[in-house]
């Protein structure tokens, strides 16, 4: 029997916060499918890695689930049409991203018929497929981490021959306030999640599996436990973890479950652990069993700015305005629009932006929920941030060096282990937007590295060119020398020949003269004789 009853010793990660949950607002209403919008806007990059390459043109008719962009390179994911209709535009449009920049999108005018492309018949038994085939299925289905990071899932499932996966963790912690999409999915479709877990487990040959859920979600825990009980697999365990932000962080959750720490800048597979979001597991089940690519996800629409906060199963590419409308529209209190939660989300400039694979929450916050930031003051080195940092870093030192733009020193303080959870900025009595400084430093370092690589390439090419020019010059000179030598030699040869000819002529002349003198007497008698002798010479 696999239940919460079997005790698992839990540990505690450093720092973290107890935050007001604000989850009840959106969990009261049941999970419903959202309407098919009139237009779907599908960015070609909804994942970490290379953007996908567009396969369709305006005017093309597409069916639901048909790939409209294929992955370029290994770290990439395809994009599928999330409903049937006609492609009306392939062009650059605003996408939900903190930069507010435009990116390539495919716009589909839907026909409302939800007509699927041909699908393979359901796979009865996933164990017929070997891990490589499973990974390929998951790759083709365009599945990326649905918890928010958007890293292509099939890559995580291939930890390499050096790593053995002992523990497979399904992350259902969902620690950020307001967000409840995983909670609703776990309550509503625990069977899908557990089936997805079994597929993932088969793919990585994990010894032990844990579904971790924060203890503020008793309904989800009960539903999962029932599903696991039905499956009757002693290697799968549902674990209630204490509610504390950010337990849902991969490394923090692993620490809670195993007591072990993922090494600095390392991956969970370094310590034999693999972590997937519960939503990802459900998507894997659909992809493998029903050959259904990732075309929809559960999204929480919440905040005091929406009339009826709830969770919706949304087709990817649906404009946010459509979702807000289905939740009763905006209330007069609507003040800020965010994608993601209040701690890690980012502000959106407009609600015409679409829902993408990584959009877990649309938060329409009121002024009271998200008051304008207070003016920052100087750091007083109170070390409150050090107390709460779940990555065991020294936020005030990171701030110090980010502020001074000392990008070497900041890396000595492990900037890249920062998960940007926002705990430090939350407790900062000087209201310093600390995470903004870290994000600034991270992107600045990446840019410098990119420029350095570009410069190295330019240097190599320049040096190679100089070498080539030098070599060509040498070769030209060598050729010229050869030629000159050849000319000289022929000249010498010709001189020698000339001399030989002249010498012969001389000799002939001398002979002739001698003979003519000798044959004064018989000359007249035998004139042809002299000529013959001459010829013989």
């Amino acid at each position: 029997m696999a239940t919460r009853g079997r005790l698992r010793k839990l540990h505690q990660f450093h720092g973290g916060l107890r935050l007001a949950e604000h989850k009840a607002e959106s969990t009261a209403a049941p999970l419903l499918p959202a309407r098919v919008p009139s237009h779907l806007i599908l960015p070609v990059q909804q994942h970490i890695g290379q953007p996908a390459e567009v396969l369709v043109r305006p005017g093309d008719r597409v069916l639901k689930g048909q790939p409209i962009a294929r992955p370029q390179g290994y770290v990439s994911a395809p994009v599928h049409a999330s409903s049937s209709g006609t492609v009306v535009e392939v062009g650059r449009r605003p996408v939900p991203h903190p930069s507010g920049l435009n990116d390539l999108c495919v716009v589909i005018e839907t026909d409302g018929r939800e007509q699927w492309r041909w699908r393979e018949p359901p796979t009865e038994d996933y164990t017929d497929l070997d891990p490589a085939q499973l990974r390929e299925r998951i790759r083709e289905a365009g599945i990326v981490g649905l918890g928010g990071a958007g890293f292509p899932s099939f890559i995580k499932m291939n930890p390499g021959p050096r790593h053995r996966i002992d523990l497979l963790v399904l992350n259902g912690a969902e620690c950020e306030p307001y967000i409840s999409c995983d909670d609703m999915l776990m309550r509503d479709r625990p069977g899908e999640i557990v089936a997805g877990l079994q597929i993932l487990r088969h793919a990585v040959q994990a010894r032990e599996c844990v579904i971790a859920v924060e203890d503020n979600k008793p309904e989800a825990l009960a539903a999962l436990e029932a599903a696991v009980r039905e499956m009757n697999d002693p290697a799968v365990q549902v674990v209630a973890v204490p509610t504390r932000y950010p337990t849902g962080g991969e490394k923090q959750l692993i620490k809670v479950l195993t007591g072990r720490e993922v090494p600095s800048q390392g991956l969970p597979s370094d310590i034999g652990v693999l972590c997937h979001n519960v939503g990802t597991a459900a998507a894997v089940q659909r992809a493998v069993t029903d050959s259904e690519p990732l075309v929809s996800r559960v999204v929480t629409v919440t905040g005091a700015g929406v009339a009826e906060p709830r969770n919706l199963e949304v087709l990817l590419g649906t404009p946010i305005a459509d979702l807000v409308e289905q939740c009763g529209g905006y209330t007069p209190a609507a003040h800020r629009l965010l994608m993601g939660g209040p701690m890690m989300g980012f502000a959106l400039p407009s609600d015409e932006l679409p829902v993408v694979k990584t959009s877990n929450c649309i938060l329409v916050a009121s002024r009271e929920e998200m008051p304008p930031p207070e003016p920052p003051m100087a750091c007083i080195r109170c070390s409150e941030c050090v107390q709460v940092c779940p990555a065991n870093l020294l936020p005030q030192q990171l701030y110090w060096y980010a502020h001074a733009k000392d990008f070497d020193k900041i890396q000595d303080y492990h900037l890249f282990d920062c998960i940007e959870c926002g705990c430090c900025a939350f407790v900062c009595p000087s209201h310093i937007p600390l995470v903004q400084y870290y994000r600034f430093a991270k992107t600045e370092i990446w840019t410098q590295e990119r420029e350095r690589r570009h410069a190295d390439l330019a240097r190599q090419r320049h040096e190679f060119r100089l070498e080539r020019l030098e070599r060509e010059k040498r070769e030209r000179e060598a050729r010229l020398r050869e030629k000159r030598k050849a000319v000289k030699e022929t000249a010498r040869d010709q001189g020698a020949k000339k001399a030989a000819v002249e010498a012969a002529l001389e000799r002939a002349k001398a002979k002739k003269a001698a003979r003519s003198g000798e044959a004064r007497e018989p000359a007249a008698a035998e004139p042809g004789d002299a000529a013959r002798t001459d010829h013989d010479d």
């Binding site: 529209g329 400039p349 903004q436 992107t443 990119r450 090419r461 320049h462």
Partner: protein, 193 residues
């Protein structure tokens, strides 16, 4: 007295030998200063500094023949890095050599190109592809934006285009000069109708 002097003398001699030996045995080969300067320079090979490329300029700086503020593509950041490396005071960029521009790449208008190969010969990093009487094109990822191909082109078909910022190359702004990013209400209302 004598013993003290003798003892100290022997000690000094011993330490001298030890230090001399370690100086040879544990010698650390420092990277030549020219290499270090060259590593900072942006490698555009544009020649705006007055030298034939980044390395000759690096050699000139190392020899004390050139100032550290003659590289417009590198800009202030480069001058600062050179000043740190050489222990000098940073100077403002010397305007005589040009101004600091954003990153740009050359783009050939392929319908105008006559295939003369002059730009191919001018490109310091072999980033232009083409042959005589064949259309030329710039390999954008390898172009350093040095502008050396502009001048030799007889039909003036090469343009410098600023590199567009993408989601992949976007940087978070420095918080202190960050503009207001709050989503304004009017956009929300309009969408609802």
């Amino acid at each position: 007295m004598m013993t003290a002097i003798l003892a100290l003398g022997i000690l000094a001699g011993l330490f001298g030998l030890l230090l001399g030996y370690s100086a040879i045995r544990f010698r650390v080969e420092g990277e030549p200063i020219v290499e270090q300067i060259n590593a900072i320079l942006p490698q555009t090979q544009c020649g705006q500094c007055g030298y034939a490329g980044c390395r000759p300029y690096a050699e000139a700086i190392a020899a004390g023949e050139a100032e550290i503020n003659q590289c417009p593509p590198g800009g202030e950041a480069n001058i600062q890095a050179l000043a740190d490396l050489l222990g000098r005071d940073p100077l403002p960029l010397n305007e005589e050599h040009g101004e600091h521009k954003g990153k740009q790449v050359a783009v050939i208008d392929e319908s105008t190109c006559i295939g003369c190969t002059l730009c191919l010969q001018a490109c310091p990093v072999d980033a232009i592809l083409g042959a005589a009487k064949q259309m030329h094109t710039v390999i954008a990822v390898e172009c350093t934006g040095c502008e050396l191909c502009i001048e030799p082109c007889p039909v003036d078909c090469i343009d410098m285009v600023p590199v567009r910022e993408t989601i992949g190359t976007w940087k978070w702004p420095f918080p202190e000069d960050r503009r207001e990013d709050i989503a304004q209400l009017p956009t929300l209302r309009r969408a609802v109708g």
